[in-house]
Amino acid sequence: MKQLDVLIREAGRFDLATPASTTLTDNEAEVGRVMQICNACRYCEGFCAVFPAMTHRIEFEKADIHYLANLCHNCGACLHACQYAPPHEFAVNVPQAMAKVRGQTYSDYAWPPALGALYRRSGLTVALALAGGLALFLMLLLGTRAELLGQPLGGDFYAFFPHNTLALLFGAVFGFAVLALGVGVSRFWRSITPGEATGPAVAEATHDVLRLKYLDGGHGEGCNNADDAFTLWRRRFHHFTFYGFLACFAATAVATLYHYLLGMPAPYALTSLPVLLGSIGGVGLLIGPAGLLWLNLRRHPAQGDAAQKPMDRGFIALLLLTSATGLAVLAGRNSGAMGVLLAAHLGVVMALFATLPYGKFAHGIYRSAALLKWAIEKRQPNRLSLGSD
């Protein structure tokens, strides 16, 4: 058995051309090993893009492994369907192997590189960011009001926090998040040598991202969560989350336009566009993350990387807090608690923005890049002419 073990490990280091594979980390070598087995089997080709992309290769080097790991949506289908999954001695667990490398790529490509370590301490990162965000706004609140609870001010946010201060603070943090993620993902993009993105490839990738195509299981019944049964709820809760987030973001953007372009400062009526968008988005962002958390808690333990659960749940918690506090501000905007509620909401949002480049949010960005590469790659002819029985 020991010898077999060694052989199976070696299967992952199949070096026909270059010995670059010697520099693989253990997690990467495991993906290489598993892909070598899958490439000889291919039963899971119909589930997602990972297996068709795999068939374009006969060896798996670092860049291939990073690409495939990020292309994997961790849907779990190929674990439950695998004839070589544990307890089989081949111990194939594609989603787990991919998840581990994925986590590693977020740190590896992170910018500035020193902050890449935050991914590995994601629970702590979220906690500190949250504490910092809350402290900041509570202090600001105390600075303007000298007391936390007070007379209702008719929903006038800027009586608490001047608009320009908010715009500056959030603009800076959000700008940094965009920059950091942008640099990270472009480093990833360059390393996986994507080739030329044509219009149709971009369109297809966009479609696959926005529809979360690869959470449909390849047959439309969805992915696996607790067991080998399929469910569409992970996809749906992702949609609630993503589009809820977008609606909230749009609400803020519209309000900013109202403020600067139309000279209409908040508060806005309940039927105004910013409040409507914010409310719809807030509800979406409440249902989505709550659902994802529920699924996360019931997830089959063999799917994915247990070490990343704190990161998953930290991000989910921040999203939930964002919507919950946002809706609380709306509900309490005519009460004396408005100041505290607003400070809490802004603190949470600040923490969310600050951790965007160093937490679970990154998965969407890297996944989108990998999907674009796949959309490009599948349009190129497969250079291998393999035949079998």
Binding site: E10, R42, C78, A81, Q83, P87, S385, G387
Partner: protein
């Protein structure tokens, strides 16, 4: 008391259990394996051979009944029962709607198996996904399932099934379906069936089992001893050449080595022993197990050079690699001088024309015995690779004789309430040879028939009891 007890936990058993339950019977399914290993050889399958007169979702063009039948007649050399075979073929044209209702998904032919796009419907995710879907459906419908339940024997009364014996336990039921696979996992039985060769070796001791470890043939043996009518020879089994490093059980599909026709194959004495380029690999795949089984030590070595890389399905284990032929011989543990001589003779005999692996090309050897009749190119481009090969048993052919109702027979008389399906009776239709995907067609057709008739027999049994 259960109406129907189904013994086995693979495709045939599940089809039988689902059909019996759908007709209203109470059903108990007994699977020898623990849950993690459930599904027998069925969990290693990938497709089902389907008759169709026009393009059908994942299937292109047409594969009419007559063509299917002629294919079967050819591979079995006539060792088939036409009526039962046609029943399977016809059932294969419409069983997929039922399969889908129970959660099975299909997909077009896998890359690397495009030659089956017309004849075979592939299971999305393979046989384990299919088995999972059937188990979910069975649980939902209220089939009682027990794992770790290896049945030892049956209680029979004059050709009539009475009860199942499972250790100390006795489980009576009104009818029974046997779907416990062949005896390919039983190494003792294989040893006995293959016997001893002229060199005093027991060839089967060196065989690997491609599928489950749970098909011990306990019930097959029990039924034969109980006087049930049989079909097929115990020495017959489907046997392919697989990577010698494959695990003893459950290596499945990925351990095959697909580069035979691109190079040469040597035995332990570094001699060639068969025409590697006789025909397309898919057509010759299944003879190499037997060829290797006849070689000393039951081992072969497939040798290729760098020209072959990227032309065959990637193997699961890396080949033994060397920059020179003598080094490869040493690494493979073969006699260096003999190895180099064999390759040199082969290289000198190659008449290279226009190499084309997709047709029976004109690259061949002259004056060499055995000849290599196609795709013969000298092994001259390093690095060189070698793969050790062993016979891998897919399934055995020995089974129980049935009629169109899947009834077990004793002395030519059908049992009123004992039925059999799947590999345990596949020999009625496939007496020898193989046609990709027909195992699942037989198991699905006869599993469903057996389930239906067992439920019916149980109902009649109840009438008898009431009367």
């Amino acid at each position: 008391m259960f109406d129907v007890v189904v013994i086995g936990g693979g495709n045939a058993a599940l089809c039988a259990a689902l059909m019996a339950r759908e007709t209203g019977a109470s059903v108990l399914l007994l699977e020898a394996a623990p849950r993690a290993w459930r599904g027998g050889n069925s969990q290693h399958t990938r497709n089902l051979r389907c008759m169709h007169d026009a393009p059908q979702d994942v299937l292109v063009e047409a594969y009419p009944e007559e063509e299917y039948w002629q294919d079967l007649l050819r591979v079995t050399g006539g060792l088939t029962d036409e009526a039962l075979a046609r029943l399977v073929i016809q059932a294969s044209s419409h069983c997929r709607d039922w399969m889908r209702r129970h959660g099975v998904h299909f997909q077009p032919s896998l890359s690397g198996a495009l030659h089956t796009a017309r004849t075979n419907a592939f299971f999305m995710g393979g046989g384990k996904a299919l088995v999972n879907a059937y188990y979910r459906s069975a649980e939902r419908l209220g089939v009682q399932i027990r794992y770790d339940a290896a049945v030892d024997a049956l209680e029979l009364e004059d050709g009539r099934f009475v009860a199942v014996r499972l250790g100390e336990e006795r489980i009576p039921a009104r009818a029974c379906v046997l779907a416990a696979g062949g005896f390919e996992s039983n190494r003792e039985w294989l040893r006995e069936a293959w016997g001893q060769n002229d060199n005093g070796e027991w060839p089967a001791d060196n065989f690997l089992i491609r599928g489950t470890r749970f098909n011990q043939g306990t019930l097959l043996k029990f039924m034969i001893d109980a006087g049930a009518d049989t079909v097929g020879e115990p020495s017959q089994s489907h046997c392919v050449a697989i990577d010698a490093r494959a695990p003893l059980y459950d290596g499945g599909i990925c351990t095959r080595v697909d580069c035979v026709s691109l190079g040469i194959v040597l035995n332990r004495h570094a001699e060639r022993f068969y025409d590697e380029g006789e025909d397309f690999w898919p057509k010759r795949y299944a003879i190499w197990g037997r060829l290797v089984a006849r070689q000393p030590g039951q081992i072969g070595y497939s040798i290729i050079d760098a020209k072959a890389i990227g032309r065959f399905m990637p193997p699961v284990f890396p080949g033994v690699k060397a920059d020179t032929l003598p080094e490869l011989a040493r690494r493979l543990g073969l006699d260096e001088a003999a190895f180099v001589r064999t390759v040199a003779d082969y290289n000198a005999a190659c008449r290279v024309g226009r190499f084309n692996h997709t047709v029976l090309d004109d690259c061949h050897t002259t004056g060499l015995t055995p000849a290599k009749t196609h795709w013969a190119r000298p092994l001259d481009t390093p690095p060189f690779y070698g793969y050790a090969l062993r016979p891998g048993i897919t399934f055995t052919y020995l089974g129980l004789k049935v009629d169109a109702h899947a009834a077990v027979h004793f002395g030519g008389r059908p049992s009123p309430n004992l039925f059999v399906a799947g590999e345990m009776m596949a020999g009625n239709v496939l007496g020898q040879g193989y046609l990709a995907g027909i195992g699942m067609s037989i198991g699905t057709a006869f599993g469903r028939i057996a389930g239906t008739h067992a439920a019916q027999a149980a109902r009649q049994g109840t009438h008898h009891e009431a009367a």
